[in-house]
Amino acid sequence: MTSANNGLRIDGLAMNFGGVFVFDDVTIDIPPGKVTACIGPNGAGKTTIINIVCGVFAPRAGEIFVDGVKLAGVRPFDTVRHGLCRSFQDVRIFPFLTALENILVAMPGQSGENLLGLFTPGARAQERANREKARLLLQTVALEGAAGRPAGELPFGQQKLVSLLRAVATGARVLLLDEPAAGVEIDLIPRVVDLIRALAKAEGRATFLVEHNIDLVREVADHVCVLQGGRIIASGAAEHVLGDETVIREYLGRVYNA
């Protein structure tokens, strides 16, 4: 139907939970190398978009394409195979695993995860290489000091950073980040910003960002769409959308005046 486009395309998505209408005709393009942010009030359905893309819910209508290939009937654990990975608003860290292990467990194709592969020398070499990669990832957010600590004992903001790195470690080309800055201590926000920028700009990943922190959106987003009242009320280049009068009146103004 659509031409082969790179990244993620959400096309005409419509959703309701039973009789409760959520949204209609949501179309968003999330190209590689760019950060596409979705803002909107609580309950607008932003996280629901991520849940639909990842196969948690089935939409009423609409289609999803990754690199031009239609996704159909995906289950949550299939998404990474299709090049997608999501993070959670409420972190969902593995609390009894160390920060390093949280990242390691996300890496694909580990022969040490099979009963027979586990005893091969190849598995050991791969594990060593993976550990090194995980350590480097922690370094990018200056958390190498936390590598050996159980993730459940880390401050919330650090857990959130680890959970983002976990998604990165899957190697997914498309990242869906659900409020990566929510609840993060103010002094850690710059690290979240730098990380998201690096993912899109340096690594060329298509990054979809659901976020309430408008300052963060201003800093990292290339494109912004505003979901409100069950539809996209504005969409386009970040500076254009965030300066749009309707958007300010309908959404941003309300936030700042609250």
Binding site: C54, T79, L104, L118, N130, A167
Partner: protein, 286 residues
């Protein structure tokens, strides 16, 4: 000395059962309350093949391991769709189902209400040899379990336990790991069942009831969840503790009830003061 060998053999058997249970409960977070079923399958397969069909006991042990692993996989399949409390309840049901199977085969199949007369090869013939062989197998299982829990597989198991939905979001199906480790644990428990039959010389369905499953929970609860050493420690301490009561010189009619009461008190105390058990690395609190 004979009795010490017997105790050592018994401890080795239960160490294997506890190691296996800890793989699924402590490391993977699957509340397995029916391990006695797989112990029984292993015991009946090994003893049945050996006594009724004259199969060499070594081969019978191998068969016990494989059949129990397969039975574990087959019984987990329908349970995988249910979670948490209901999963625990369902595994509890395994005890009754398998007890009834062992029990009701009785009138139809020779030997299922009670099997004895195992023909044991040299490695299991004398009590000393039996102890040495069983202890060596327990040590092997211990090493295998340590290798598993220290590997990327072990890491994934702990991730399944902590947040299965998050692991799925990272592209890994939690059920794959649950199926794998449940089968491995079932196989090890089946091996222990075969060894148990050799230790006791006689098996009947009453050995494989809920009581045995609960005992396994107590062993790993005391020793500690998600700890291989905890599995060993719990079994050694409790069996030795139980035995030592015999030497207190109490009238025999008091020993049994006293054991039960002290076991109960120990468990309650542990749950209040030290939920991780002696050397556990995980508790269900969160």
């Amino acid at each position: 000395m004979e009795h010490l060998y017997y105790l050592g053999t018994l401890i080795s058997v239960w160490i294997i059962v506890a190691l296996a249970a800890n793989l699924v409960i402590g490391y993977t977070g699957m509340m397995a309350m029916g391990q006695a079923a797989y112990l029984g399958v292993g015991a009946y397969v090994a003893a049945g093949l050996n006594v009724l069909l004259g199969v060499n006991f070594h081969l019978a042990l191998l068969a016990a391991l494989l059949v129990s692993g397969a039975v574990a996989a087959a019984t987990l399949w329908p349970l995988l769709r249910i979670g948490g409390f209901y999963f625990a309840l369902a595994t509890l049901g395994l005890n009754f189902v398998f007890f009834d199977i062992f029990h009701n085969l009785g009138p139809r199949v020779e030997g299922s209400e009670g099997l004895h007369g195992l023909k044991l090869p040299d490695l299991f013939a004398g009590s000393g040899a039996r102890f040495a062989t069983t202890a060596a197998l327990a040590a092997l299982c211990f090493l295998a379990c340590r290798t598993i829990v220290g590997s990327p597989l072990g890491r994934a198991l702990r991730a399944v336990r902590d947040r299965p939905d998050a692991l799925a979001a990272l592209g890994k199906d939690p059920r794959r790991y649950q199926m794998l480790i449940w089968s491995v644990a079932g196989a090890l428990t089946g091996l222990a069942g075969g060894l148990y039959a050799a230790t006791l010389f006689y098996i009947d369905p009453t050995l494989f009831t809920l009581d045995a499953s609960i005992l396994v929970l107590v062993y790993i609860g005391v020793g500690g969840l998600a700890s291989t050493w905890g599995s060993v420690l719990g079994v050694v301490l409790l069996i030795v503790f139980n035995e030592s009561l015999r030497y207190l010189g109490l009238p025999s009619q008091y020993v049994g009830p006293l054991q039960q009461a002290l076991y109960g008190l120990l468990l309650i105390g542990l749950m209040i003061f030290r939920r991780r058990g002696l050397v556990g690395e995980y508790d269900f609190r969160e």
